[in-house]
């Protein structure tokens, strides 16, 4: 190796100019130099000092002949060879055991973590020792070269520079050797190591953190204070950090700087993620953001602080690192002994907090649907989410994710309109906290509104939700309160809190203003905090589903009429209250007709008392003359101003003679009192409470006049054919058959076929026990037929009004094929400019068309209507 190497490398021209003695001196020195190099590099420490003077003279003589570069190169090559043949393989051999273990498996095995730790420490120590030794050798060369240089006074640069250059060359050699031979699993081993250590640290520190929390949050000494050595925990913790610091330090020295940083950074993030999942979980009723932030302070930041501190101390004399990941924080520059957090730590804190916000945000967005179902109990989770979003600005993520959750979970045929509406309202209430301006709410609400517009019972459900507090579906805090009541309460609170906040010129200003007020103690509850926000118009967004408030009011009027007509007392306190609320929100003039309807009830009560009092007084004799006739005591009447009521189903019915007599006496008396007004009875309307007496029991029922008339026909005649009974009551047979079903279902009337196949025979069941459908004694039974309403529904009214346009619509669709809603609307406006004039809103048209779709006359596909084939 020696002579051959020399001859192959050296310039022959140089050799020519040399004397024979010189050549032999060169050869002799070279051979000696190579020998010593080989020996010392191999690692016999004893030779290091003994051969130093010989080594030095060899180096000097070689330099003298200008062979310095050759010397340097050979020496470094020897070191490299040693690393390649010995150092690196030996180091990697430690980790052979993990060679073929799948990554995830290895990480999860806790038992192996301790093993990994020991192994890594040991291996690092070994290789570091070896490296230290090699550095010593290198220093020997450097010193020798420097010595020659002084003698030679050549211009080879500053001695300190030379040392630096050599060491960095050497370090490059070591790290490139290690890098090129690194086994695949080493990254995983690093991760596993840091995971184990950090978890250990976390356990120690979390205990710490919790203790501190219990004591007092405000006076808690800063967690950065790691010098509190009196605490046994701190000692343990410091030992652990020192241990980790040592590993990191050794790894960095071997050139694994960025890999190491990546490893502990990703470990920290993984741990943080796990922590967020753990703290947040599926509990929406407590806020977790502060605990997460606290944990970041207590564990990872303190770890990093201590680590950087350690590295800062031990690495201060090292040359600046060449490779720096963005995560890297240069220990010397980022940690100042002043004790205040360094720039590096602050950067870490921001990164970690951002990551935590984002993780929590994603977690909450993922479960937003459930959270809103749980609202307002889940208000803390919403508040957390709000803060996260303010930080990350990823509101659009929320919108996209929530809309798809809505489509998947809520806007399906299986969900009841009521549920959808309640979720809609909860969504508005919850999201207005996050989004006071209502921008995202608008986007999220649109699919729900769109969907609800396609449902026939939407308006009815909305009206019920707004006005009826007893509908058991309200899961809000004020159960038993209607939504209107609740909205009104909100508004009053708002007014109380913002007396001089007349114009909402600027959202931000409003928000600041609102925050300035001291909430009163009851309302200080954080879950109700949203009430103080600028108001997102909940009612407006609900009306927005229907399109116009007029339709809503119209529907309310129909429902109110139904309710009022079925009252047996004149108690309308709740209806009056509801009307007051409606007047506040929709204006007094819109509610005019409803007001008159309520007024009719009040008047009726007065008139009823008046009529009955004077009738009994005046016609004492007349009353007696009606032998088994009914007394006026049983009769009450509701007298309506029919012009202001919605169209009323006016079917004639023959009611029992004694009652009929009472009615005409009553009307006569009314006419006397109120001339020139007179009464027109709507005999099919109203409510009858009756008691059926059987041999062994009595049963009470509350039914319609038709039901009552039917059953009373059985008093004198136990069996009727359907034709005869219908004639007796004065209704069509099919009406009779529908109505009598009520009595059949109660087991009071039995149905059997007769000789005439078109006719049925109804018989009163005498022995109820036989009927098998025993009814508990004295139970009040209400004939509650959803389908049998006294008032024509809004839908029916609309259908009647729209019927004239039906042929236009069919005509257009026949010619054109399919058309969108808007196009049909606009075309009707053009075609029906004169007689009949088309004056309906697009929402009314839509509702009419969806009726036609339900009747299977039309088809709706992708937003366009076509004729059903």
């Amino acid at each position: 190796m020696t002579v051959d190497a020399l001859s192959s490398v050296c310039n022959l021209g140089v050799l020519d100019s040399l004397s024979g003695a010189s050549i032999s001196e060169i050869l002799e020195s070279w051979n000696s130099f190579c020998l010593i190099t080989e020996t010392i590099v191999k690692g016999d420490d004893a030779n290091l000092s003994t051969s130093y003077s010989k080594f030095q003279s060899d180096v000097c003589s070689l330099c003298k002949y200008g062979l310095r570069s050759l010397v340097e190169e050979h020496f470094l090559l020897s070191l490299q060879g040693m690393s390649e043949k010995h150092g690196a393989p030996n180091f990697w051999k430690n980790f052979d055991a993990y060679n073929n273990v799948p990554d995830s498996e290895m990480i999860d095995r806790n038992t192996q973590e301790d093993e990994v730790e020991l192994l890594l420490c040991k291996a690092l120590e070994e290789i570091s020792l070896e490296k230290q030794y090699q550095e010593k050798c290198l220093l020997m060369l450097v010193n020798s070269l420097q010595l020659c240089q002084e003698n030679n006074t050549s211009t080879e640069g500053h001695p300190l520079d030379m040392e630096k250059i050599f060491f960095s060359k050497y370090r490059l050699i070591v790290s490139s050797v290690l890098m090129t031979t690194m086994p695949r699993q080493f990254t995983e081993i690093l991760h596993s190591y840091f995971k184990g250590r950090l978890e250990e640290l976390s356990t120690i520190m979390v205990g710490d953190y919790d203790d501190d929390n219990e004591l007092q949050d405000n006076n808690r000494p800063t967690n950065m204070d790691i010098d509190g050595t009196y605490d046994p925990k701190k000692t343990l913790e410091n030992k652990l950090v020192r241990n980790i610091g040592m590993v990191v330090h050794n790894l960095k020295n071997l050139g694994f700087t960025s890999m190491t940083e990546d490893a502990y950074a990703s470990t920290i993030f993984l741990l943080l993620q796990a922590k967020v999942y753990d703290l947040a979980g599926d509990d929406y009723r407590t806020s977790v953001l502060e605990s997460i932030k606290g944990w970041i302070q207590a564990v990872p930041l303190q770890f990093l602080h201590a680590l950087l501190d350690y590295l800062g101390d031990s690495m201060s004399d090292l040359s600046p690192k060449s490779t720096k990941s963005p995560l890297a924080s240069t220990p010397s520059s980022c940690y100042q002994k002043s004790g205040k957090p360094s720039e590096g730590i602050i950067r870490w804190q921001l990164r970690l907090e951002y990551f935590a916000y984002e993780t929590l945000q994603d977690l909450r967005i993922d479960k937003l649907f459930e959270i809103i179902v749980d609202y307002p109990d889940s208000a803390p989770a919403i508040e957390d989410l709000k803060q996260c979003l303010e930080y990350t600005g990823q509101h659009s993520k929320l919108v996209d994710s929530f809309i798809s959750a809505l489509k998947y979970r809520l806007l399906t045929a299986g969900a009841s309109t009521n549920d959808i509406l309640h979720q809609y309202v909860s969504t508005i209430k919850a999201l207005r906290t996050i989004d006071p301006a209502g921008v995202f709410l608008e986007a999220v609400g649109e699919p729900i509104r769109e969907y609800l517009r396609g449902r026939k019972d939407t308006i009815k459900c909305i009206v019920t939700m707004l006005t009826d507090g007893t509908g058991g579906n309200s899961n809000g805090p004020g159960t038993g309160d209607s939504l209107l009541e609740e909205l009104n309460r909100d508004e009053e609170n708002q007014e109380r809190n913002s007396l001089d906040d007349d114009i909402n010129t600027d959202d931000k200003q409003t928000w600041i203003d609102v925050q300035r007020w001291e909430p009163d103690p009851v309302e200080a509850d954080p879950s109700k905090g949203s009430r103080y926000r600028r108001k997102v118009d909940v009612l407006g967004m609900i009306v927005g589903i229907i399109g116009s408030k007029d339709q809503l009011i119209n529907e309310y009027r129909v429902m109110l009429a139904e309710k009022l007509l079925n009252k047996t007392d004149y108690d309308i306190d709740t209806e009056i209250r509801t009307l007051e609320l409606l007047k506040i929100h929709f204006g007094e003039s819109s509610m005019q007709k409803c007001e008159i309807m309520l007024n009719d009830l009040i008047d009726s009560k007065r008139t009823n008392t008046n009529v009955k009092a004077t009738i009994n007084q005046l016609s004492q004799t007349a009353a007696e003359s009606r032998e088994h006739g009914a007394s006026f005591d049983i009769l009450d009447a509701t007298i309506i101003s029919s012009n202001f009521w919605p169209p009323i189903q006016d079917d004639d019915v023959k009611i029992p003679e004694p009652v009929d007599q009472l009615l005409s006496d009553y009307a006569k008396r009314f006419h006397e009192i109120k001339t020139p007004r007179k009464l027109l009875w709507k005999k099919n309307l109203g409510t009858v409470k009756l008691e059926l007496e059987f041999e062994d029991k009595t049963l009470q029922f509350t039914v319609t006049p038709i039901h009552a008339s039917i059953i009373m026909q059985f008093q004198d005649q136990k069996s009727w054919t359907s034709k005869n009974l219908a004639a007796a009551i004065g209704v069509p047979v099919d009406t009779l058959q529908r109505r009598i079903n009520f009595w059949i279902s109660k087991g009071i009337v039995a149905e059997s076929s007769s000789a005439d196949s078109n006719d049925h025979v109804y018989t009163l069941v005498d022995d109820m026990a036989d009927g098998g459908k025993s009814v508990t004694n004295n139970e009040v039974l209400v004939a509650d037929d959803e389908a049998e309403t006294s008032v024509a529904s809004v839908e029916d009214q609309l259908k009647k009004e729209m019927a004239v346009y039906e042929k236009f619509i069919f005509g257009m669709l026949t010619n054109i094929g399919n058309m969108g809603l808007e196009r049909i609307h606009n075309s009707l406006k053009i075609f029906c400019a004169t007689n009949p004039v088309y004056d309906k809103s697009i929402q009314q048209l839509q509702s009419f068309l969806s009726g036609l779709v339900a009747e299977e006359k039309l088809e709706l596909r992708d937003g366009t209507y076509s004729l059903k084939k």
Binding site: T638, R677, V688
Partner: protein
């Protein structure tokens, strides 16, 4: 039978349905009123034409000389 709660509507015992002055239904009320019935009564003239009381009063007061029935142009007198 305990209670028979019946429903009726009231109406003015008039031949026409709407007031000739305001064109509103008799069973409704005149343009100035909010509540129908006793609060906005009808009145008959000697000619047997009926109007909302408020309407005919306005009409009568607006006439400079002797008022006439807006329907039949006969001299307006309240029916006894």
């Amino acid at each position: 039978m305990d209670i028979w709660h019946a429903v009726a509507s009231w109406t003015w015992d008039a031949h026409d349905e709407t007031c000739g002055i305001c064109r509103m239904a008799f069973d409704g009320c005149c343009t100035d009123c909010k509540l129908p019935g006793d609060d906005c009564p009808l009145i008959w003239g000697a000619c047997n034409h009926a109007f909302h009381l408020h309407c005919i009063l306005k009409w009568v007061n607006s006439q400079t000389s002797q008022a006439h029935c807006p329907m039949c142009r006969r001299e307006w007198q309240f029916k006894e």
